[in-house]
């Protein structure tokens, strides 16, 4: 079920209404049943895969807690193998097989391994990572094993964050299912405000930009450099509004029922460095990789070259997490290289500048924000392009071809520009004043005008025939 559908609006009203009507003792059942219904609205049979990993991880958690030494570790390995195995089969099997085929073809051989004609279950990488964080935390002794099978299932399947995060940690979410959430007026309002802002970002900005971006990226060979540059900048805002819009709706809908999910985005395009960007973008995934991979590799408590390697490898794997395609791997590697370069720069170049040249800090910050944005946009080319060949073609054309920006529909182009300006304006206010429009104003009229402004814009220029959220495919 898509958040940007009437079905979801009805579903949300019914589930939330029933949630507050029900006795606390039965609420977990309602949430679990509704989460199953939510997930099965996509491809019903895939709930069996989810069920498989839930059963494995549930028992693995209990067995890990009840054992010590090598046995404890072996139960963790069982859980990790089951989760990564599911990911490997459904997400990476055909990718690996395609590459084997290409390699064998290069030496004149054919590949006997068959191609699997399977669909990737929606949000597989998200709930697999959330499940893995549970068994790892139990193994590390930071979390008690959950004995209540229904509650554990709900931890993996909680519908607001089931298909595209935020990827939660057991310490933050599990206990909340036991807590009795009373109806709190301010919390409900704040959740609904966040949902409204999420819908606005998705329907008015992301899906509107998608119309232009798709038309250019799907026919890249016919477009010139300036057009491809504009489409890439538009894509940067599209993917941000698409994914952060989803996160806002998820966090908001959970908040209405009394649950606190972790923040996933903090206006990342105001970042003045790549490392700051990654502390503001998809925070639940960045911190997952930090907690479970980067630190396990030794983090920064190793030699400098090894530290750089750790960073690079984490981003490379983060790229692979996004999709089974070389474009995602290159995207991850590129971000890894940016970070390593930033560390080198901070160590040598920045120190030199700070000592010898005194530039006004607002100017430096502005330049840094623009440079960071440009670097991130460059990496988005690989993220958006259908193949490495397409990405290469786009970059070549950006460098070698000139001309005017292609505008097939002047109104669409105008919408895109205005949508971006509006977003920057609203987010700048949020960055400085801590509120979206006048959502937190003491004056009722200003609050209501803010709601009406966003709802009217959704009705007037929102895209109602838009498709899925980009991150569903991961």
């Amino acid at each position: 079920m898509l958040f940007n559908s009437i079905e979801f609006v009805i579903f949300f009203i019914v589930v939330t209404g029933l949630y507050f009507l029900l006795n606390h003792r039965y609420r977990w059942m309602l949430l679990l049943i509704s989460s199953c219904y939510f997930y099965m609205a996509f491809v019903p049979v895939y709930i069996l895969i989810l069920g498989f990993t839930i059963v494995i991880d549930y028992y693995a958690g209990i067995l890990i807690e009840g054992s010590t030494g090598k046995r404890r570790k072996s139960w963790l390995v069982v859980s990790l193998v089951a989760n990564i195995g599911v990911l490997a089969i459904f997400k990476y099997y055909n990718f690996i097989n395609d590459n084997i085929t290409a390699l064998l073809y290069g030496v004149g051989q054919s590949n006997p391994i068959p191609y699997l004609n399977i669909l990737l279950p929606i949000g597989l990488s998200f709930h697999t990572f959330q499940a893995m964080s549970y068994t790892i935390e139990v193994y590390r002794g930071h979390q008690k094993a959950e004995r209540h099978f229904g509650i554990y299932s709900l931890y993996v399947m909680f519908y607001p964050q089931l298909v595209a995060g935020p990827i939660e940690r057991p310490q933050n979410l599990l206990f909340q299912f036991y807590k009795e959430h009373k109806f709190e007026y301010t919390r409900v309002i704040s959740g609904l405000q966040l949902m409204l802002w999420g819908f606005f970002k998705k329907l008015v900005i992301a899906d509107r930009l998608a119309v232009y971006v798709d038309s250019i990226y799907n026919n890249a060979e016919h477009h010139n450099g300036p057009t491809l540059i504009v489409a890439t900048i538009f894509f940067a805002f599209q993917i941000y509004c698409d994914f952060s819009g989803y996160s806002d709706i998820a966090i908001g809908s959970a908040k209405v029922m009394g649950f606190d999910l972790m923040t996933n985005f903090k206006r990342p395009y105001f970042s003045s460095s790549i490392s700051e960007f990654w502390s503001r973008w998809h925070i639940s995934l960045s911190t997952w990789f930090r907690d479970y991979l980067y630190i396990s590799l030794g983090g920064n408590r190793v030699s400098v070259p090894r530290w750089y390697f750790n960073l690079f490898i984490v981003f490379l794997i983060s790229g692979l997490w996004h999709g089974a395609n070389w474009t995602y791997i290159i995207w991850g590697a590129l971000n890894g290289l940016y970070l390593v370069f930033a560390l080198v720069r901070a160590r040598y170049i920045d120190t030199f500048f700070q000592k010898n040249i005194n530039l006004p800090s607002p100017l430096v910050k502005s330049v840094n924000i623009m440079v960071t944005f440009a670097l991130i946009c460059f990496s988005w080319i690989f993220f958006r392009a259908a193949s490495f060949q397409d990405a290469s073609l786009i970059i070549t054309k950006m460098i070698t071809t000139g001309g005017s920006v292609f505008v097939s529909n002047a109104f669409l182009f105008l919408y895109c520009i205005l949508a971006i300006i509006l977003l920057i304006g609203i987010e700048l206010r949020q960055e400085l004043k801590g509120q979206i429009l006048f959502f937190k104003s003491d004056r009722l009229i200003l609050r209501n005008l803010s709601y009406i402004f966003l709802i009217l814009l959704i009705l007037l220029i929102g895209v109602f025939d838009g498709g899925q959220f980009i991150y569903f495919q991961f």
């Binding site: 559908s5 009437i6 079905e7 507050f20 009373k182 109806f183 709190e184 007026y185 409900v188 309002i189 109104f411 105008l414 919408y415 209501n448 709601y451 009406i452 709802i455 009217l456 009705l459 007037l460 220029i461 929102g462 895209v463 109602f464 025939d465 498709g467």
Partner: protein, 309 residues
């Protein structure tokens, strides 16, 4: 704040907000509707004219290929009748059928020409999205409601909003209300194209098979019958394509079969050597340029005259 009282406060505030929204939606929708029907040019103006005002003897129905391929003046000269092209870019069979339904409710043309494209009956995700161009007519036109309801399961719910039918149209309406009709390229619905193509013809050996959308196939049959029942001569035409298609197309096969069952002439010019493959005659792979459109209109009208009159 106690549970019940805080819920009541929330419901009260939501009700006030909803009421305010309802009033604003109603007022803004009424303003948009007022100006929508006062457009003097543009595609929506053409749709309004086609649905509500057209009284010409010959009417052409279809998508962009109709809009760019049939020159009404050529047919007028041939048949000595008035003609109008109701074709619209990006709008396919259900759009044509809806326009035809609206026309036939108030007028009886003397000849109808339906242009059909390859893959027109293909079942596609979001295949009815283009019908948004007809949403402003939903309220006043009972005849097309069942077609528009196909857009989505909750189309009726969405249409409670008075603004929704005019979604994304605000600047278009504003421009077309003030823009002079004489500056439009549109000539009785025909929109000429002027470029020529710069790559040689391709021979397309194979294309992936696709599933036919039975709703579209049924709609096409009803479309033809709507004319037949009023005794209006109707012809179905597939106008020329630039590339050579070796494979037969499931839509064209289906059209052929339905036309023969309904005893309606079907003229297939899709691979006509007088047009296909000629770089100078095409604006792009699917659309003839102005000069070729005139030539095609002459060829087509000559054939129709022989067959129908």
């Amino acid at each position: 704040m106690k549970f019940n009282s805080s819920i009541m406060v929330l419901l009260k505030k939501l009700f006030i907000l909803f009421f305010l929204l309802l009033v604003i939606d109603f007022a803004a929708g009424a303003v948009l509707k007022y100006f929508f029907y006062r457009q003097k040019s543009g595609l929506d103006y053409q749709t309004i004219y086609s649905m509500k005002k057209s009284r010409e003897d010959i009417l052409f129905f279809g998508s962009s290929r109709a809009s760019h391929h049939y020159v009404p003046s050529v047919f007028s000269d041939e048949f000595n009748m008035s003609a109008y092209n109701t074709g619209r870019d990006g709008n396919f069979i259900l759009y044509g059928y809806s326009v035809a339904k609206s026309v036939l409710a108030r007028h009886t043309p003397k000849l109808a020409v339906i242009d059909i494209s390859r893959k027109e009956f293909q079942r596609k995700e979001g295949g009815y999205d283009y019908l948004s161009s007809l949403l402003p007519f939903y309220e006043d036109n009972n005849g097309i409601r069942d077609i528009l309801n196909q857009r989505s399961r909750f189309e009726r719910v969405k249409l409670f909003s008075r603004i929704y039918p005019y979604n994304s149209l605000f600047p278009v309406i504003a421009l077309n209300v003030v823009r002079d009709k004489s500056k439009s390229a549109n000539i009785n619905g025909f929109i000429p194209l002027f470029r020529s193509i710069d790559r040689p013809m391709k021979t397309i050996e194979t294309e992936p098979a696709y599933e036919l959308d039975t709703f579209l196939v049924d709609a096409f049959r009803q479309y033809l019958r709507a004319f037949k029942e009023k005794g209006i001569p109707v012809a179905v035409v597939c106008s020329p394509y630039y590339d050579k298609y070796v494979m037969k197309d499931a839509t064209i096969d289906s059209v052929n079969e339905i036309c023969s069952q309904e005893a309606i002439p079907f003229l297939d010019y899709s691979q006509d050597p007088r047009f296909s493959g000629h770089q100078s005659k095409f604006d792009d792979f699917h659309h003839l340029n102005e000069e070729a459109a005139r030539e095609f209109s002459k060829v087509c009208s000559d054939s129709l005259k022989k067959i129908l009159f």
